[in-house]
């Protein structure tokens, strides 16, 4: 059983205040939609939760069966799909997947890569350079990369951006699949995506 806790989280960049005093507590099986207008700090909150930024005040805790997880344990169990996260344009889809699996310390077989690519609807395109992908295909590949470590904490920032109807369907299916075994945090403006989550968190100044 995993747990993600935020206590009185505040973030400011110098004089610019992004958000303050956010509180939440999520357990495996729960998901949270982070909502708020453009520029309200949804993506920043994601970065804070992922320890890319440090919170200015407050505390984040990653717990496994009530015990705080260690840094590399956390790293092995989180994944992010975000417009700010890019894959290597000069590598092919397969090479990207293989690289990110290896640096995470996992072994991955060609078969597993194939399965992942098929799952996100990129079957047969694995050998092409990512630079030649459309933005929707890149988004799909980001999902494949995010699923490499079978994340216990899945962060989705604008999960369906650049995706067509088929792509959106894939994302909805993925969320459905991971819902029971993971904690999912979704930052979004799309009304239909709120309802994918069991909880809501409004981010405001």
């Amino acid at each position: 059983m995993y747990e993600l806790k935020g206590e009185d989280l505040s973030k400011r960049f110098g004089e610019l205040k992004v958000f303050s005093k956010l509180n939440f507590d999520l357990h495996t099986g729960e998901s949270m939609a982070v909502i708020g207008p453009n520029g309200s700090g949804k993506s920043t909150l994601m970065m804070v939760l992922l320890s890319i930024y440090r919170p200015s005040k407050g505390k984040i805790a990653y717990l496994l069966d009530g015990k705080e997880m260690e840094e590399n344990q956390i790293r092995a169990s989180v994944s992010l799909v975000s417009p700010y996260l890019n894959l290597y344009d000069q590598l092919s889809g397969e090479e990207n997947l293989k690289f990110f699996a290896t640096v995470a310390g996992e072994n991955i077989t060609g078969k597993e890569i194939e399965n992942l690519l098929e799952k996100v609807g990129l079957a047969g395109r694995g050998m092409d350079l990512v630079g030649g992908y459309s933005s929707g295909m890149k988004q799909r590949l980001k999902y494949a990369t995010a699923l490499l470590n079978k994340p216990a904490f899945l962060y989705l920032d604008e999960p369906t951006s650049n995706l067509d109807a088929a792509g959106k369907k894939i994302v909805a299916d993925l969320i459905e699949e991971y819902r029971s075994q993971s904690i999912i945090v979704i930052a979004t403006n799309e009304e239909e995506e709120y309802h994918l989550a069991t909880k809501q968190l409004r981010v405001d100044k």
Partner: protein, 218 residues
Amino acid sequence: MWWKWSLFIAMGLVIVFSFTTPAPQQQIGEASRVFYYHIPQAWICVLAFMMSMIFSIRYLKNRRIEEDDRAADAARLGFIFCILATVTGSIFAKVTWGSFWNWDPRESSIFILLLIYGAYFALRGAVEVEERRAALSSVYSIFAFITVPFLIFVIPRITPSLHPEDSIVTENMKFTMGPAVRTIFFSSLALFTVVYFWMFSLARRVRIIERSRMEIEE
């Protein structure tokens, strides 16, 4: 308040005595009076840079932005004293050795210190996000400090020394620095140190006011 007045009077006395007593080093003559100012400045410069590095380490440990403020303030003051020491030294060099700059080991060292802190300020100017600026410049300042022992090892081997350390600092300190010279020199050293800490605390107060104004504006 009282200590500022005593500082003012004491500093005045040091200045007067530094020019009215016989020159500290007969061979060099009048120019050797720079000794009362140049060495305290160089000492403050080293002290300030040491403090800056210690505050940098503390910042990386506890992530309080005040530590980074302190590191920057100390570096800024150190830089000012570094320039003063360079200028006084350079004038002294012109008078005694005939040219303003000779790449004597001390000159080389202080020049490199100026370069390091010039780079440090260039880096601070190039990072907008406060916390990132603090982390990056702390790392750079610690890293730059690691190279100092190598400089100390290398530089004397590259260029021979012209410095009058044998005539004043080493020998006179140990044996022949007379009581008058000794008193003036160490008073000057102490007073410069007090002035430095005063300037440092003033810089701190300015920072605190700035930060609290930021809090109020919210």
